[in-house]
């Protein structure tokens, strides 16, 4: 059995008095295994950075416990937690060079100078900052500062590496390159890292598991694949995935051999009964309304099917995003080739039962993915 490196148990964070202050993190629990990279993914103000800062020890834990390597740390000062952190605002020491910034922690831990120098060179090469090592932080660009800050964290020997938006300032090409190198560096050494990001591509590329957060609550903690295929609720379903999942209000209706969803504008999507498990059919029939989700990649244009009218057609260079008016809402579909469509064109689309996600419309909880009942 693998070892739990970080255990966050029922942690709450209030800014201001407990229970009456701003409730920034709500009853979050995460177990992180040694050697895993975890991404905390969410929009601004969702509590992901608060969570990270509680792990680091810059914010007090209002309720709950945090353990690192089996040791309860939430009452300890940051210096005693043995974690390394790359800050979103870089936070380099302005009075020393980039080289000294990176070497700072190693030097003060008493490592021999030659070993420190070798490590600095190695990590600078990995992050493409060899040329600026002898410059001062104020004379280098934001992207360079960010990499210096990342190097300063990754060079240390720590139980846990906390990376707060570590690549937000980098150019796209460099970002892709460094993502690969950083992941290799972390994995090769068996390090455990927590990454905070609002960029789902970064989370998908780097993380073994993603914790999706919104409004202080953890919505789902699962592998990137699972989050894509089986989002736990409407929020995760629409937040993760680009372009976002299409959602329609629907009501189920069944006849002898078809199982259909009637949509807001009166149109109907009908499927053979055999496409859905009977338990799912019973469950959905018992509900007044459902939220029906389908990923843009799963929508296909076809000869027959439901009618839609094109609103916009955008060629992005490698794929087309087509927005169409459908069932009183907007349906977005993605095609890999340039589509010869313009505004006002009538198209017919086909949705496969195995691509449907059904959610409870009020709570947002997932009921089924791909015609299979959740749970």
């Amino acid at each position: 059995m693998s070892e739990i490196m970080l255990q966050i148990s029922n942690v709450d964070k209030f800014y201001g008095p407990i229970d009456t202050g701003v409730h920034a993190v709500k009853d979050v629990s995460i177990d992180v295994e040694r050697g895993d990279i975890i991404a905390l993914l969410g929009s601004s103000g969702c509590g992901k950075t608060s969570t990270l800062r509680m792990i680091a020890g810059f914010e007090e834990v209002s309720r709950g416990t945090i353990s690192i390597a089996g040791r309860e740390v939430h009452m300890l000062p940051p210096v005693k937690r043995n974690v390394a952190m790359a800050f979103e605002g870089y936070s380099l020491y302005p009075t020393v060079t980039v080289r000294d910034n990176i070497a700072f922690a190693l030097k003060s831990s008493g490592k021999p100078a030659s070993e420190v120098a070798a490590k600095v060179d190695e990590i600078a090469e990995m992050l493409e900052i060899t040329g600026i090592l002898d410059k001062y932080p104020s004379s280098i660009s934001g992207g360079q500062q960010q990499r210096a800050s990342l190097a300063r964290a990754l060079i240390r020997d720590a139980d846990l590496y906390l990376l707060d938006e570590p690549m937000g300032q980098l150019e796209p090409q460099l970002r892709t390159l460094l993502r690969g190198r950083i992941k290799y560096y972390i994995k090769e050494r068996g390090l455990t890292a927590i990454l905070v990001t609002h960029d789902q591509t970064e989370a998908n590329a780097l993380a073994d598991k993603i914790a999706v957060m919104e409004d202080g609550e953890m919505q789902q903690f699962a592998s990137p694949e699972e989050i894509k295929e089986a989002p736990a609720n409407l929020f995760t379903g629409t937040f993760v995935g680009e372009p976002p999942m299409n959602i329609f209000d629907a009501k189920a209706a069944s006849s002898d051999d078809t199982f259909a969803f009637s949509l807001q504008d009166g149109s109907e999507l009908s499927f053979p009964r055999s496409a859905f498990a009977s338990a799912l059919q019973d469950r959905v029939m018992a509900m007044d309304r459902v939220a029906l989700g389908v990923r843009p990649y799963a929508v296909q244009r076809s000869e027959t099917g439901a009618a839609a009218r094109v609103l916009a057609n955008q060629w992005l260079g490698d794929q087309s995003h087509i927005a169409a008016e459908f069932a009183g809402g907007t349906l977005v579909l993605v095609e890999h080739d340039r589509a010869d469509l313009s505004e006002g064109d009538e198209i017919t689309v086909h949705l496969d039962a195995s691509d449907l996600h059904i959610f409870e419309p009020d709570t947002g909880a997932a009921i089924s993915h791909g015609a299979k009942l959740v749970g």
Partner: protein
């Protein structure tokens, strides 16, 4: 475009010259006075042409004032020493107390911190005499009247709020994450304060110290009430030039030149820090 900028240059030059003349002329005139005798100073109309003499400076340094009727002992040099001693120690004490306090007010938000900081600032609102009268009675009771210790203590009323509020602004400007980065790299609170916060706030601390020094040096009322002759700074000591036999303008002018020399030199040397320190630190809301 070119013509506008020429006009602008001329106007700006004129304006600056006027301001410099306005502020520097009194000092220049006092400088001239300090090399004249009372007779040449008081002649009508005044003139810039005279035979310079060093008697004013000589009598200040030797400590004897040659009046028209009698010779008077003055303690100008010991007053100067008192000024120096009182200002330097007050500012040192003020920095030792004020800088850590400013750090606490800037970085550790605790209950009532704003109120305490404001109370400290409010010491500067009250007219000094209001504070001084009761203080004189207390000081006489507890034996602090007419002691250097007592004076330095009272000088904190001037020095401490100034240092506290300027340096606080500087500490607030340091992103907390820089300190966090140092602390998470295995350093304690004290080490972060001395190795990160203090160096980064250095210019602000220097500016605050300088300004506090100037304020302490120029203080008159506290020493007038609380100190006797042997503890008096130059500001109070200069009163001795107003004698029964007349006012010795020449000596006063020489005394002024000697007493503004240290602050003048300091300000000239450190004007860069002063401007930086005040514009970066204290203005921030």
């Amino acid at each position: 475009m070119q013509s506008v900028s020429t006009l602008e240059r001329i106007l700006r030059g004129t304006a600056i010259s006027l301001v410099i003349f306005f502020f520097m002329f009194p000092i220049f005139w006092i400088f001239l006075m300090s090399f004249q005798t009372n007779e040449t100073i008081l002649r009508v109309p005044p003139s810039m042409v005279f035979e310079p003499t060093l008697t004013n400076y000589r009598s200040l340094i030797s400590g004897t004032l040659e009046g028209s009727t009698a010779t008077l002992e003055i303690r100008f040099m010991s007053n100067l020493y008192n000024s120096l001693f009182l200002s330097v120690t007050s500012v040192t004490v003020g920095l030792l107390l004020g800088v850590p306090a400013a750090y606490a007010f800037a970085k550790l938000k605790f209950r009532g911190s704003e109120d305490i900081a404001f109370t400290l600032l409010s010491f500067r609102f009250a007219p000094p005499l209001l504070v001084l009268l009761p203080l004189t009675i207390y000081f006489q009771k507890i034996g602090l009247a007419d002691t250097y210790l007592g004076l330095i203590w009272v000088y904190q009323l001037i020095v401490l709020p100034l240092i506290l509020w300027i340096v606080r602004g500087y500490f607030e400007d340091i992103p907390s994450d820089i300190e966090y980065a140092h602390r998470i790299a295995g350093h304690g609170f004290w080490s972060t304060f001395t190795k990160i916060a203090l160096p980064l706030a250095g210019p602000g601390i220097a500016a605050a110290g300088l300004l506090a020094f100037i304020f302490a040096w120029n203080n008159f009322i506290f020493a007038l009430v609380l100190a006797s002759a042997d503890k008096q700074p130059v500001t109070v000591g200069a009163l001795a030039f107003i004698t029964a036999s007349g006012i010795n303008y020449g000596q006063i002018a020489a005394g002024i030149m000697l007493s503004i020399a240290p602050t003048f030199a300091l300000a000239l040397y450190a004007q860069r820090y002063l401007v930086e320190g005040l514009s970066l630190g204290a203005v921030k809301g």
